[in-house]
């Protein structure tokens, strides 16, 4: 469970990232975060694992305060929160196996991880994760030999070996083609449904948000302006979030194509 209590974030240049955000995300939810660029979607997501600090309020994950955690406790909390990003964030020169195993780093002492001494169970965990995303045959391939969609699946496998309860996805499909986009979103949905992991996705496509999520949160200038089920997100709500009803325009554009 993730709770935001009166969370605000003001960047050092004065930009307001978040403004008095109060919400609770339960276990096993599939949440999509929508909003214009700069509306605070990334700031919100990155506040959950404190990749950026907040200036006011408190964020808790599974009852533990992320905001007040010391260095060591923060690392322990982060172990249980996976993150995938638009840029995949893989070490391109390293093998797929190494990238996936790096999801276990938080569980190892510095020395063991430097020498690459991983347990047999963790190697199996990595194999299972890669099998789940259909890339077991790429185990020893260099990551930059893979296509964008495959690289994104490697980063999903990394969150799986992490055995995270929560997966944060920052624009996971922004750089992928429509077919791969569907596959990646289905992978995330499947992980959400069969493994019961909470998935929170920042996404620009309202259609995808409606198609996959159980809950949609709309941000505008750092404030939550919509929070509800996909069915409740209509033209009026979209106008509130984006300044105009983009869904109709988008559907129109698709009809032409």
């Amino acid at each position: 469970m993730i709770t935001f209590e009166h969370v605000s974030k003001i960047y050092s240049n004065g930009v307001r990232g978040l403004q008095d955000v109060n919400l609770t995300i339960g276990n096993g939810e599939f949440v999509s975060i929508i909003g214009l660029s700069g509306a605070g979607k990334s700031t919100f997501l990155r506040s959950i694992n404190r990749l950026n600090d907040i200036t006011e309020g408190e964020v808790c994950v599974n009852g533990r305060s992320v905001t007040k955690a010391g260095k060591k406790e923060l690392r322990a909390i982060r172990r249980r929160i996976g993150m995938i990003s638009q840029n995949f964030n893989l070490v391109k020169r390293s093998t797929v196996q190494k990238n996936v195993l790096s999801g276990r780093l938080g569980y190892y002492s510095t020395w063991k991880s430097i020498l690459g001494i991983f347990s047999k169970e963790d190697y199996e965990l990595a194999n299972d994760a890669l099998e789940r995303v259909g890339l077991l045959d790429k185990l020893h391939s260099r990551s930059d030999e893979l296509s964008g969609g495959q690289q994104q699946r490697v980063s999903i496998a990394r969150t799986l070996v992490q055995q995270a309860d929560i997966i944060l996805a920052d624009e996971p499909v922004a750089s992928l083609d429509p077919i791969t986009t569907q596959k990646i979103m289905q992978d995330l949905k499947q992980i959400n449904q069969t493994m019961g992991k909470t998935v929170i996705v920042n996404i620009h496509s309202v259609q995808l948000a409606k198609q996959f999520s159980s809950r949609i949160i709309g941000f505008k200038s750092g404030c939550v302006v919509f929070d509800g089920t996909p069915e409740k997100l209509g033209g009026k709500e979209l106008t509130e979030i984006y300044g105009r009803n983009i869904l109709e325009e988008k559907e129109g554009a698709q009809d032409e194509a």
Binding site: N49, L51, L74, R75, A76, I77, R78, R79, I81, G82, M83, S85, N87, F88, N89, L90, V91, K92, R93, S94, K98, S102, G103, R104, L105, G106, Y108, T110, S113, I114, S155, R158, Q162, L168
Partner: protein, 259 residues
């Protein structure tokens, strides 16, 4: 067509610069007392030197193989030590992993000082501290390599892809783990390339280090010159040329394969 419509429209500026350069040249020649006629006036001396120099004493080769090898050993060991220290310090010289601006500033200031000491001066200082011998040469090369390579490496670290660093942070990795797992794989081939480059530079430099007593082939070169044994000098110089060419060739081929 008038001159001001052509590419030479600001010819007077170019002329002005040319005049300034000419004045500087003539003035500096006057100050230092350089005189071209002297070069030709000493032609006789030159021909005597060249005559002996062009008769290399190949029988002397067995005597210089040992010092040549020790010069190479000095370079290899010195380079290895220098790089071994340069890598961790380079990490401290960037905020990429540490996030500590104060530490970075202090480390860079220290590295700037190390780098400003010229090679030969460093060798002379080391001889004064450590005495004459190969160990002095090794240390000189190590310090010199450290200064040169650490800068190259920290510049490489500054340009790495930040994505994997963020990924490692988000799984709960600590800073050392981030250095080894996210940054090191991205700079490894560059470090190998810089090491080979440093080795090339060091082999060339170490032939001269013997001049100030830091061991290797420079010692023999120095004494042969002092004893006016130009036939030996030419053999030594030929030997250095061949070895440097080989090392450069091998290292360049290796670096090309790396990239």
């Amino acid at each position: 067509m008038r001159l001001k419509d052509t590419v030479h429209f600001n010819w007077y500026k170019h002329l002005f610069i040319a005049v300034i350069i000419a004045i500087c040249l003539v003035a500096s020649a006057g100050v230092t007392g350089a005189d071209f006629t002297e070069v030709f006036g000493n032609a006789e001396q030159m021909s005597i030197f060249m005559a002996r120099f062009l008769q290399p004493d190949f029988a002397y080769i067995p005597n210089i193989i040992g010092p040549m090898i020790s010069t190479l050993q000095m370079s290899v060991v010195g380079t290895a030590i220098g790089v071994a220290f340069a890598v961790p310090v380079a990490f401290l010289a960037t905020t990429t992993v540490t996030g500590n601006q104060v530490l970075t500033t202090v480390v860079r200031f220290f590295l700037d000082i190390v780098r400003t000491i010229p090679n030969l001066l460093l060798a002379a200082l080391m001889v004064a501290i450590m005495g004459i011998g190969e160990l002095t040469g090794v240390l000189t090369i190590a310090v010199f390599t450290f200064g040169m390579v650490s800068q190259l490496i920290y510049e490489a670290i500054e340009t790495v892809d930040e994505g994997p660093i963020e990924a490692a942070e988000s799984v709960g990795a600590n800073k050392v783990q981030i250095a080894f797992w996210s940054v090191a794989p991205q700079i490894m081939s560059q470090v190998a390339g810089y090491t080979l480059y440093a080795l090339e530079v060091n082999v060339r430099a170490s032939t001269v280090l013997g001049y100030v007593g830091a061991g290797g082939i420079g010692v023999i070169l120095n004494s042969s010159l002092a004893l006016l044994q130009y036939s030996r000098v030419s053999v030594i110089i030929l030997m250095i040329l061949v070895v440097v060419a080989i090392v450069d060739g091998v290292s360049e081929a290796a670096r090309r394969r790396l990239s």
